[in-house]
């Protein structure tokens, strides 16, 4: 019975692994000609998985009822929230990718498979309640991601991105593994519940080192400063659909993992990691803002913007309470919508031959040549800057409110003041599109799927998004409650 129950809880992982193996066989026989069919099938699989996560989220499943495989894995509302966002991000990637790769004559059947496998790994990351399950999920995701980053084999930048990602990602994994082994050595357990119990009371120095190394490794994965260096290069070099994927799914997974590790495994010693998180959050906000100012490539700019946004999300984590976690999840959901809108819009920037345009200068006067696209990008930029009435404001609002309620007034004040630096480069993009004379570079057309995705995501970040605040708050509240349900 226990086996059946565990199998039921890990349903999405089973669907993903079985279907990716079947699709792998289809790819072996069908070859690259079948890549479009396989992509569609993969999107369908992801949709099924997304639907499967919904009950756990709305019914606020938590605690022992969600625990599977002897406490290795949890299918609670928190995991469901993370998985839902991850599967959405993966599906968006698969929808926009074929058009991009076909132009480069690089569409291969492996692409959707790698995305499916990475999604499975990320699903495990947010579900893991044991250090070993965590590491398996992380590596499953990372190995797929390294290949995805260098998917345009003939493109130097793509190959460079893949190599950089691999070397630095392995380093981070090593740091994480070292931290895990230290933690195991000083607590005698790899399960989060066991670590939680063992860390309570007085803390040995060795355990502190373990916590610090684990957090450093995870900070790498969420691309928080000072471990952010790989982000701009990888984002710029990787093919744009892959960048879209990196900006959404692994970010959600790694942040989810960071939350579960900090708040559950290390939850009995918040004082130890709270100051680290505060430092990392502020540094990410400032570096993300300052680094973006000089950029002339829109993908690099969005990379710094994601560093900046991670900083704001970490403010929610720094609160170390349930309200902070819920705020962080709300921000995460809005961040996913903003990233989808931003990267789909970037994918739609094409010149007359259909070649992608990435330089910000080439976007001059976009409001005249492609008014709707410019409007969408302007909405994304103001939203990322957190200017009301766009929905991006709400994400910042909830995390800062959580910080104020938790008494972290100076953190909130410094963080919000630093957000003004970020506003400078966001409005610079708007300035280029709206105030400058048209260069008529971006004249290419975009396909229907991209338009629909852009429309949906821009509506979500428009002021209409505020109508979602109630339901979003309830779902994030369920997820956060599951995180704090200590069995």
């Amino acid at each position: 019975m226990e086996l059946l129950r565990s199998l039921a809880i890990t349903g999405t992982e089973e669907v993903l692994s079985v279907s990716s193996l079947i699709l792998l066989l289809a790819a072996a026989w069908g070859g690259d000609k079948a890549s479009r069919v396989i992509s569609i099938a993969a999107v369908a699989v992801l949709t099924v998985c997304a639907v499967l996560t919904v009950p756990a989220l709305t019914q606020a499943v938590m605690g022992p009822a969600a625990s599977a495989w002897n406490g290795q894995f949890s299918g609670d509302a928190f995991a469901a929230f993370g998985k839902l966002l991850i599967y959405i991000g993966a599906a968006v990637t698969l929808i926009v990718a074929p058009a991009f790769f076909e132009r480069e004559k690089a569409m291969r059947a492996e692409f959707p498979l790698l995305v499916l496998l990475a999604s499975m790994g990320m699903g495990m990351m947010v579900s893991a309640t044991d250090m070993l399950a965590l590491y398996i999920g992380l590596e499953l995701n990372s190995l797929a991601a390294y290949v995805l980053a260098s998917f345009l084999r003939s493109d130097e930048r793509s190959a460079e991105a893949g190599l950089k990602y691999f070397v630095l990602g392995s380093l981070a994994s090593g740091i994480l593994l070292y931290g895990i082994s230290l933690t195991y050595g000083f607590t005698g357990s790899t399960s989060f519940a066991g670590i939680h119990g063992a860390l309570a009371g007085t803390l040995s120095t060795g355990a502190v080192f373990g916590v610090v190394f684990v957090l450093a490794g995870l900070a790498f994965k969420v691309s928080a400063a000072p471990f952010h260096m790989w982000t701009p290069d990888v984002y710029e070099g990787a093919p744009t659909p892959v960048t879209t994927f990196f900006a959404i799914a692994p970010k959600v997974a790694a942040l989810g993992l960071l939350m579960r590790v900090s708040l559950f495994a290390f939850g009995s010693q918040p004082g130890v990691w709270q100051q680290i998180v505060i430092f990392v959050a502020l540094l990410s906000i400032v570096i993300g803002a300052l680094g973006a100012i000089g950029q002339d490539n829109i993908k690099r700019l969005l990379a710094y913007s994601s560093i900046n946004n991670v900083g704001f999300m970490l403010i929610g984590l720094a609160c170390a309470n349930q309200a902070g976690a819920a705020a962080m999840l709300v921000y995460l959901a809005i961040y996913v919508a903003m990233s989808v809108a931003g990267f789909v819009a970037v994918l739609m920037l094409r010149d007359a031959d259909g070649a992608p345009v990435e330089s910000i200068a080439a976007m001059a006067g976009l409001s005249k040549t492609r008014p709707m696209l410019a409007l969408a990008l302007a909405a994304v930029m103001f939203s990322l800057a957190g200017i009301p009435p766009l929905f991006g404001f709400w994400g910042k609002f909830v995390v800062f409110q959580a910080a104020v309620q938790a008494g972290l007034l100076s953190l909130a004040a410094i963080g919000i003041a630093a957000s003004v630096i970020g506003a400078f480069y966001y409005i610079k993009v708007v300035k280029v599109m709206y105030f400058d004379e048209a260069t008529d570079v971006v004249t290419g057309q975009s396909d229907m799927a991209q338009r629909v995705l852009l429309f949906v995501s821009v509506v979500a970040i428009s002021p209409l998004g505020y109508l979602l605040t109630k339901s979003l708050g309830v779902l994030a509240g369920n997820a956060a409650a599951a995180l704090f349900h200590i069995a």
């Binding site: 009301p388 009435p389 105030f435």
Partner: protein, 526 residues
């Protein structure tokens, strides 16, 4: 009371109009914009006529819980009513001013203006702290675009400066508001206005809000974005900036800083006075040497706003009522002056004072209107400017005769720079042929000037119309401030009355003096 949610409707109408404008061409966009702003003006008139003077404090209240964390909650008192009336009155005139001047991307232009209208009305009607903040901040986006797209040669610098200055000012306000809501347990503005925050916290909260409102107002020395923004903005942008946006700062003081933090307001009153005195003198002197007409009026705006702030922080009824009246009057007069500049700018495409001269000869009607608004700006009795400035200065005189003395120099300097401007532009010889060949006002310009002139005179001759709706609210605010009011000059004179006593009795004497002063103040209040 009216049977339908009039405030929501007033917010919705321009928003729908904005969407329609985005899709329309130039001709139809401006017709839509005019129709929509006139419809909002009618709604505003209905609002005023149904407003019960002396009725409940908050009227036309609406409430819908459709958001998490904050509420859709609207309602107005007399103060908000007057500022809404100012907004809906100026908007059709702004559209009129843009009628021929805006040629490129007209649909987007009018859409931005209509969104501005929604947000401005939203600021004055919001009864939820966070709803207020959203409306207050959101105004940055359309104004940034208006300055940046349709502005003058140096528009990009001006738009950045406007955006970043005002954003930096208001983000700290958000943190303060969150703290307030956390402390008081509600984001309902009327409740917060009666809540007593701990005096120690008030200091910080007051400063955080001050950062925002002082930039918006703008107060010296954070005023530097204003001349740039005004000079570069298109005429209608300047009108709305001077007419309504600056009033948001004053509204913020009167709605938040003063009633919510009376003790901190008293504590910081000398700071406000100091900055205001500096502003009056410095910006007036700067205005005196300007070569650019718009810049001159922009600096004069800073000087007028400084008299508003001293009036607000005079802690008495005259000061508060005077400040409200200056805000209304300045909204009309500065708007009208920018409009007058726009009229000649449309003809000659320069704001350089030296390029004009002798306009009284070829543009007599224009000269007449310009004269009226110049006089109103100076504060000539019989125009709107006089009533407000007189009351404000009277209010501050009760607190500190020195502050009153220095601020009054603003009136003299104001007369100097405005009359000097008028002489150079309208009188004198016609030294430039092209300026001499400019035609007088056309029908459209007449239609914009006449309502403004009529209201300016009305407010000057019979201010009661504008004082009546807000009297009760000002009285309530004054009562709220009474406990914290700093001892002013009016009290000190009375305190000095007891003859010098022996040293050990001195403390007693002082106490007596204070009691006497208190008694006298109560007498005065009656």
């Amino acid at each position: 009371m009216i049977g339908f949610p009039i405030l929501s409707l007033m917010l919705l109408v321009p928003l729908v109009g904005a969407v329609a404008c985005l899709m329309a061409g130039r001709e139809s966009a401006r017709m839509i914009a005019l129709a929509v702003t006139l419809l909002d003006l009618v709604l505003g008139a209905v609002l005023w006529s149904h407003y019960q003077i002396g009725g409940p404090t908050w009227q036309f209240q609406e409430h819908a819980s459709i958001f998490a964390g904050f509420e859709w909650k609207l309602g107005i008192d007399g103060i908000a009513l007057l500022l809404i009336a100012l907004t809906v009155f100026l908007m059709p005139i702004c559209i009129g001013a843009s009628w021929n001047a805006i040629e490129k991307r007209a649909g987007e232009y009018y859409a931005n203006f209509l969104i501005m209208e929604t947000l401005m009305i939203g600021v004055f009607t919001a009864q939820d702290l966070f709803l207020f903040y959203i409306m207050f901040e959101a105004g940055l986006i359309p104004m940034y675009l208006i300055i940046g797209i349709w502005g003058g040669a140096d528009r990009i610098y001006a738009s950045y400066k406007f955006f970043l200055y005002t954003l930096l000012g208001s983000v700290l306000m958000l943190i303060a508001m969150m703290w307030m809501v956390n402390e008081a347990g509600t984001s309902d503005i009327p409740t917060l206005m009666a809540y007593s925050f701990p005096v120690k916290a008030q200091t910080w909260l007051w400063l955080a809000l001050f950062a925002s409102f002082a930039v918006k107002m703008p107060m010296w020395p954070t005023h530097t974005w204003l001349p740039d923004a005004h000079v570069q903005a298109p005429t209608a942008g300047s009108v709305i900036l001077a007419g309504v946006l600056l009033k948001m700062g004053g509204y913020g003081f009167i709605r938040f800083s003063l009633p919510m933090f009376p003790e901190a307001s008293a504590q910081f009153a000398p700071l406000v006075w100091g900055l205001s005195m500096a502003a009056v003198v410095i910006t007036s002197l700067i205005a005196l040497v300007q070569h650019d007409i718009k810049k001159l009026i922009a600096y004069s705006s800073v000087a007028h706003m400084a008299i508003v702030t001293v009036g607000l922080f005079a802690f008495n009824r005259q000061g508060l009522e005077g400040s409200m009246l200056i805000m209304l009057s300045h909204g009309l007069v500065a708007g009208a002056l920018f409009l007058a500049v726009g009229v000649i700018y449309d003809r000659l495409h320069t704001r350089e004072i030296d390029r004009y001269g002798g306009l009284a000869i070829n543009m007599p009607a224009y000269a007449l209107f310009f004269m009226l608004f110049t006089m109103a700006s100076i504060g000539l009795p019989g125009t709107s400017g006089f009533v407000g400035e007189f009351l404000s200065l009277m209010g501050i005189y009760a607190q500190s005769s020195w502050v009153a003395l220095i601020c009054t120099t603003g009136i003299i300097l104001g007369a100097a720079y405005m009359l000097y401007l008028y002489r150079r532009v309208v009188f004198g010889v016609q030294k430039n042929e092209d300026a001499a060949a400019m035609p007088d006002l056309d029908k459209r310009e007449w239609a914009m000037m006449i309502p403004l002139a009529a209201v300016v005179l009305w407010m000057g001759v019979y201010p009661e119309t504008f004082l009546a709706p807000m009297r009760k609210d000002i009285a309530a605010l004054d009562a709220r401030l009474a406990q914290a009011r700093p001892r002013g000059d009016a009290d000190v004179q009375l305190a000095a009355m007891p003859p010098a006593a022996a040293t050990h009795e001195h403390g007693d004497a002082m106490e007596h003096g204070e009691q006497a002063a208190h008694a006298a103040r109560h007498e005065g209040a009656r």
